[in-house]
């Protein structure tokens, strides 16, 4: 049984927010009369943790303890509009919406606090749910007093709303050039994968993945790790295991269950090393960039390269099943070169390549 090991590295980038923008998220916040904070947003928590992240953003943006914040994302009657949880936009776009709403609430709290303390609102700050004069922590008023005063004396609901919206990017159909940036901050990542290949069966095991992520600012580092680790396993599944059409493009032999569709399990979990880099974005909440989607993009090419490093064959269809590795190894044994040099051209994958598209203007489509 022959085993070969190899390592491959890949680097990727990924945009935050919906392609071409024009995708708002809105939020509104109200204070209860004891100063507790109710946040209403339409963002869906699909497991990534937006309820937690948004609560953290609001807590700091106003200046209250985390457990003062209630996130209500439960329904479309009370919550404001949110385009949705996709396009890696939850923390960034949704987070900016709750931040903007919280900043308005904070401003109003300071104004009323100024009235009560008889000082200019600009001389006040909020920490741990109390408004106090800068430099004089004893000269203070609790947010419960402020909210109660607003409710019962001034006859006012302290509230704020925020909308995060980037302008829709119009695009030139001929060149693809855009009028404004079509996304928010771009996140970056790199992955190094180490694999072991069974040269007789083509079976590939990932032994270790080291991963570097620039997330701008990790609002909750444990959640960022959760995205990185979960993404790593989805990337491993993409790279090695998963497809609904095992004989793609043929539709034959689709698997209808877990016995015939390979969902990665604990058993193939490799050693994982995570490095989070904080290179703050200029316009994300507290400098954050997105992390969600990019987390499964770097692993497949890193694994493909590691396989090449191990056994000297490129498999450029994914998932890289044992069968594909074995076919490539057989071709190599038969003496087929990995590429063909033709003048200054170095051509790979000729047997896979179509002659572009067989339409009338195929030459226009692809003539490298």
């Amino acid at each position: 049984m022959a085993k070969a090991v190899g390592r491959g590295i890949a680097a990727i980038e990924y945009p935050t927010g919906m392609n071409q923008n024009g995708d708002p998220s809105q939020a509104w916040i109200k204070l209860k009369m004891d100063g507790r904070v109710d946040v209403f947003a339409g963002t869906v928590d699909i497991g990534q943790g937006s309820k937690t992240v948004h609560s953290q953003i609001v807590a700091d943006a106003i200046g209250v303890p985390m457990d003062w914040v209630t996130m209500d994302t439960s329904n479309t009657d009370s919550s404001a509009f949110c385009m949705g949880t996709f396009a890696s936009r939850g923390t960034f776009i949704g987070g900016n919406a709750v931040r903007l709403a919280a900043e308005k609430v904070r401003s109003r709290i300071l104004e009323i606090g100024g009235e009560l303390l008889e000082v200019d609102a600009g001389d006040l700050e909020i920490a741990d749910g109390e408004v106090h004069v800068k430099g004089s922590p004893d000269k203070k008023v609790g947010m419960g007093d402020i909210a109660g005063f607003a409710t019962f004396v001034k006859g006012e609901l302290i509230s704020g709303q925020g909308t995060a919206l980037k302008e829709y990017a119009t695009l030139d159909p001929e060149t693809g050039a855009v009028t404004v940036p079509p996304h928010s901050a771009i996140s970056y990542a790199a992955c190094a994968a180490e694999v072991e290949v069974d040269t007789e069966t083509g079976d590939v095991r990932v032994l270790k993945m080291s991963q570097v992520y620039d997330v701008g600012r990790a609002i909750n580092p444990t959640m960022v790790e959760g995205q990185i680790e979960g993404g790593a396993m989805q990337g491993l599944g993409l790279g090695l295991l998963e497809t609904v059409y095992p004989y793609y493009p043929s539709p034959d032999h689709r698997g209808s269950g877990y016995g015939s569709y390979f969902v990665p399990s604990m058993e193939e979990l490799p050693e994982l090393e995570c490095i989070i880099i904080e290179n703050p974005s200029s316009d994300g909440p507290f400098g954050a960039k997105s992390i969600g989607e990019m987390a499964n993009n770097a692993q497949p090419p890193a694994i493909a390269t590691a396989i090449y490093d191990a056994v000297g064959v490129w498999v450029t269809e994914m998932p890289i099943t044992p069968e594909k590795v074995l076919r490539a190894l057989r071709a190599k044994e038969e003496g087929r070169p990995e590429s063909r040099t033709d003048g200054k051209y170095i051509r790979y994958d000729e047997e896979l390549s179509i002659n572009a598209v067989a339409s009338a203007d195929s030459a226009v489509l692809f003539a490298p």
Binding site: I46, G47, G176, I219, I275, I277, N279, G292, P300, I346
Partner: protein, 456 residues
């Protein structure tokens, strides 16, 4: 205490570990009916007739719906972004993929609902299916879609997504080598732990409460309202908590049909897809065919790239034009390539429509171009990490569509991965930053083509 940056527990962790988190399927409303769909047994066929009378007459069946019950049967989910609708909610004249819903039933229990769908009689005329995106453009290719086999409406006028930047012919002439390769990710399934599920309750005031596992409550509410031609305040979506989605639950695949059944039955209705339906009938990550040709110099500069992408949309557009556009915007990956020619096609086949999935449009390009970069570096005998650092995007460079990069991190992440793996880099690469290129000067022919003013 500041909480941003703190490792705080999840807001919902206590509920998760005590079964306190209530997912859509955990909502219990007395008298709720079960829904099931009749799905196409063919990949591609004309529908000649649909007869629901036997199903409607069955004991325990409260509602059967078909296309005739839908006010606006064809509604595009991103019509607002200029992508016209082309998919019926319930098939009317054709089925274009195996598993496409044709009719749905609400009945007292799951078994009765299933038997009722089997009692619906549909006659078909089978058509030859198309599965291979590479064959779609052939003059005698089977017709996969109602119109031509590829999407014609980019910006309302183009049958492909184009990027044109710089002078790609100059780059290919100038190059020492041109490296070509082909990359083909296959379609895959999201496999959210919670399958598609919706419960709808007709309320006494004429409104409908929709318990939905959607990833996008307002978006899905808009889709339902558009199909039914209802004002938004006739609907109340309850959601915000799902058993994961990874992009597949943006499709609003179960909500509208469940509402239709609840309207007709005037009873609460629940539709929970089986795992088999998820695997066989729910949307997938797309299959892709990508051809890349890079014009490179012998000292490791990428002067230009030509790329052709075919995207397997399956039977209908859904979000595919959006995905190919995003793909085109990022087809240079984490690098700056000054001269570009990109053509991307959304191609129809008779398979389940593909949709967004984690990394939509970019996972494919990352796979293709990172392997391709590796091949380019190895072709000229250069360290692949040095090759990446040399061509990394920098502050002030521009993206394929002309956007100036403001906070690029290719250099920091590549240097960090080199350090993590003990990969030695030469001194002039170690001193690189997101602002500074390498110690060696930018070659004459790239001056003015890369956007970093510090370099020239």
């Amino acid at each position: 205490m500041k909480v941003v940056g703190q490792r705080l527990p999840r807001y919902d962790a206590g509920a998760h570990v005590t079964a306190g988190t209530r997912y859509v399927d955990d909502v219990r409303i007395p008298g709720t009916l079960w829904a099931k769909a009749l799905r196409s047994p063919h990949h591609n066929a004309e529908i000649l007739s649909i007869d629901t009378s036997k199903a409607e007459a069955m004991e325990g069946v409260f509602a059967v719906v078909t296309h005739a019950d839908v006010h606006k049967n064809v509604h595009g989910h991103i019509e607002g972004l200029g992508v016209p609708g082309d998919e019926p909610l319930l098939a009317a004249t054709h089925v274009r993929y195996l598993g496409q819903p044709i009719a749905a039933v609400a009945a007292v229990d799951e078994a009765t609902a299933l038997r009722a769908t089997e009692a619906i009689e549909v006659t078909y005329r089978e058509l030859e299916p198309l599965f291979d995106i590479r064959r779609a453009f052939e003059p005698n290719a089977p017709q996969a879609h109602d119109n031509q086999n590829w999407y014609p409406d980019f910006e309302g006028q183009m049958d492909r997504r184009q990027i044109r930047k710089g002078d790609v012919d100059w780059a290919f002439e100038q190059a020492d080598h041109i490296v070509t390769g082909v990359y083909r990710p296959y379609p895959m399934e999201h496999v959210p732990m919670e399958t598609q599920v919706t419960q709808v309750v007709p309320e006494a005031d004429g409104r409908y409460t929709v318990y939905s596992a959607t990833q996008a409550m307002y978006f899905s509410m808009g889709v339902v309202a558009a199909h039914l031609d209802w004002p938004l305040n006739r609907l109340k979506f309850i959601g915000g908590t799902t058993g994961s989605g990874f992009g597949g639950k943006v499709d609003t695949a179960s909500e509208t049909i469940t509402v239709l059944l609840a309207v007709k039955a005037q009873r609460p209705v629940r539709w929970r897809w089986t795992r088999e339906e998820e695997f066989l009938c729910s949307s997938t990550r797309a299959g892709w065919h990508m051809e890349v040709a890079d014009a490179i110099t012998k000292d490791g500069w990428i002067l230009g790239r030509k790329m052709l992408t075919l995207h397997d949309a399956g039977a209908y557009s859904r979000f595919s034009p959006y995905g190919v556009t995003k793909h085109s915007f990022h087809h240079t990956g984490a690098y700056t390539i000054p001269n570009l020619e990109f053509n991307g096609y959304v191609v129809y086949t008779n398979r389940v429509p593909s949709t967004a999935m984690r990394g939509f449009g970019v996972t494919s390009v990352s796979f293709a171009t990172e392997i391709h970069i590796e091949r380019c570096a190895r072709a000229i005998g250069m360290d692949p990490l040095e090759f990446r650092l040399k061509n990394a995007n920098r502050l002030g460079d521009t993206s394929p569509n002309g956007v100036v990069y403001t906070d690029p991190s290719t250099v920091p992440v590549v240097k960090a991965i080199a350090e993590a793996t003990g990969h030695e880099l030469p001194a002039d690469y170690r001193t690189m930053t997101a602002a500074m290129r390498s110690g060696d000067d930018l070659p004459e022919h790239l001056v003015g083509q890369l956007g970093n003013p510090e370099d020239h």
